[in-house]
């Protein structure tokens, strides 16, 4: 595939001395013979709220999974805060970094999944406290206090001792958001967080995320089919198709005045 015809590189102008939160450097991701991402470049500023839109199979979720190191790319480099995430270039060769380095990098990143993935063998409180206590080494008392604050924030102050299976999907997803925030991530990845929810509870989950976007400066990388949410929360929208950025811009530009035919087709299909 020729890359010359490709104009939207996802590059942004950075101020002098500014380090981007995330930089994708020519990332290639294949599953067998199928190439999902073919030399993807893009940059996310600190505090950016970037929404990835596009048809399914266009590689959006793969991007989040690469940042969370749930998947391994075949080529290219991902930099978090200008530090390599999984690989570095050494004497012109791509060298994998050690697990220790990766887990150090991962601590800056949090993720909320479509299927919540709460630990069913733990209570809500234990779910939220697990990583702060055992990964960050925060005292149990402090972690507990913070967990209660977060539960308050997601509107579930009385569910601390409940088991995840006794909660509705919307409540589970709110706990999962609290669990991710308990690690104080610099980057929060939201992977279709409302896709598995009943329509009537989508609003409450999105409301909480809106509030988090308003009250924190966490960098967000969002994959969603909720276009109104993307419009409200994000300051940048990237339209993907076939593993490439087809078009990008401010939400108002993309949603109200799309330049590319593929963007127009996609938006009219999801509207």
């Amino acid at each position: 595939m020729p890359t010359d015809s490709f104009t939207h590189t996802g590059a942004i102008e950075l101020a002098e001395g500014e380090t981007p939160a995330i930089r994708f450097n020519h990332i290639v991701k294949r599953y067998g013979d199928h190439t999902v991402l073919d030399g993807l470049d893009f940059t996310v500023r600190r505090g950016d709220r970037v929404t990835l839109i596009g048809p399914s199979g266009s590689g959006k979720t793969t991007i989040l999974r690469l940042v969370m190191t749930l998947e391994e790319s075949q080529d290219g480099y991902i930099l978090i805060d200008d530090k390599p995430l999984t690989h570095i270039e050494k004497d012109g060769k791509r060298v994998a970094l050690k697990d220790k380095h990766r887990s150090q990098m991962r601590k800056r990143i949090g993720m909320v999944f479509q299927q919540f993935n709460l630990f069913p063998n733990m209570t809500v409180l234990e779910n939220i406290m697990e990583a702060p206590v055992h990964v960050l080494g925060i005292s149990k008392a402090d972690a507990k206090k913070r967990a209660h604050e977060l539960l308050e924030q997601v509107g579930l102050p009385d569910k601390a001792d409940a088991h995840p299976t006794s909660l509705s999907g919307g409540q589970q997803q709110r706990v999962a958001i609290a669990r991710a925030l308990a690690m104080d991530p610099e980057i929060l990845l939201l992977d279709e967080v409302t896709s598995a929810l009943d329509p009537e509870v989508v609003g409450e989950v999105l409301g909480i995320l809106r509030k988090i976007a308003e009250t924190t400066d966490v960098t967000m990388l969002i994959v969603t089919h909720e276009m109104q949410f993307a419009r409200d929360v994000s300051n940048r929208v990237l339209m993907f198709d076939g593993g490439r950025i087809v078009e990008e811009g401010a939400p108002a530009d993309i949603f109200d005045n799309p330049q590319e035919q593929r963007t127009r087709d996609f938006l009219s299909a999801v509207a």
Partner: protein, 217 residues
């Protein structure tokens, strides 16, 4: 004088004390200690096969299959004659424990495989260490799924304890046979032996069902 009656309760009462003693001292001891060995060692085998580097996991897999594919009685006899410094009871406990651990390892493997991928991904997203991932997330969920199958193996181990007779350990059935030989009366003692097994097995299976329900979330 030959007693030609079909059933004589006197034999039941006079054989019972020795049988019960053997039941507690041998049958229960081998089952309980053997199960404890099997439950722990089975998990260790499952974890080694999954996580240890190649030469080690390969050797463990070979040994596991070797033990699984050879009869318990052969293993009992072999160890009995190989480890003459051990008491026969000790040989029995260890052989039962190791033999069943190889079956339980497969149960654990299935249990570990049944933990959804999303659980592993959540531990990665939370930067949890491999040790913590296993202890706090994977093993508790895997074990819950394995309780019924592990319980069945405990019961079948219990029912196979009469094989200990091969290494001259007198378990409950051995005591029954000894009594029968002395008095030329086998009907009562073997029926009593069967009933005692049933009386112990059935409540155990109910207990396992309850445990399974309690572990469900």
């Amino acid at each position: 004088m030959i007693d030609t009656s079909l059933w004589n309760w006197d034999h039941v009462w006079s054989a019972l004390p020795e049988m019960l003693t053997a039941f507690v001292k041998v049958t229960l001891v081998v089952t309980i200690v053997g199960s404890a060995i099997a439950i722990v060692l089975g998990l260790v085998i499952a974890l080694v096969r999954r996580s240890a580097p190649q030469p080690i996991s390969g050797v463990v897999t070979f040994l596991m299959n070797f033990i699984r594919m050879t009869p318990l009685v052969v293993q009992l006899l072999f160890m009995y004659y190989a480890l003459t410094s051990w008491s026969p009871l000790m040989v029995g406990i260890v052989v039962f424990g190791v033999h069943y651990s190889t079956f339980m390892a497969e149960v654990y493997r299935a249990g570990i495989d049944s933990v959804p991928r999303g659980q592993w991904e959540a531990t990665t997203a939370l930067s949890m260490s491999p040790g913590r991932t296993w202890i706090a997330v994977i093993i508790p969920q895997a074990v819950r799924a394995t309780v019924p199958a592990l319980g069945n193996y405990v019961i079948s181990m219990f029912k196979e304890t009469p094989f200990l007779v091969a290494v001259s350990v007198i378990d409950m059935v051995g005591a029954a046979r000894a009594y029968g030989g002395d008095h030329f009366r086998f009907t009562e003692v073997f029926i009593v032996a069967g009933v005692l097994f049933l009386l112990a097995s059935y409540p155990t299976s109910l207990l396992i069902n309850r445990l399974e329900k309690r572990l469900a979330y």
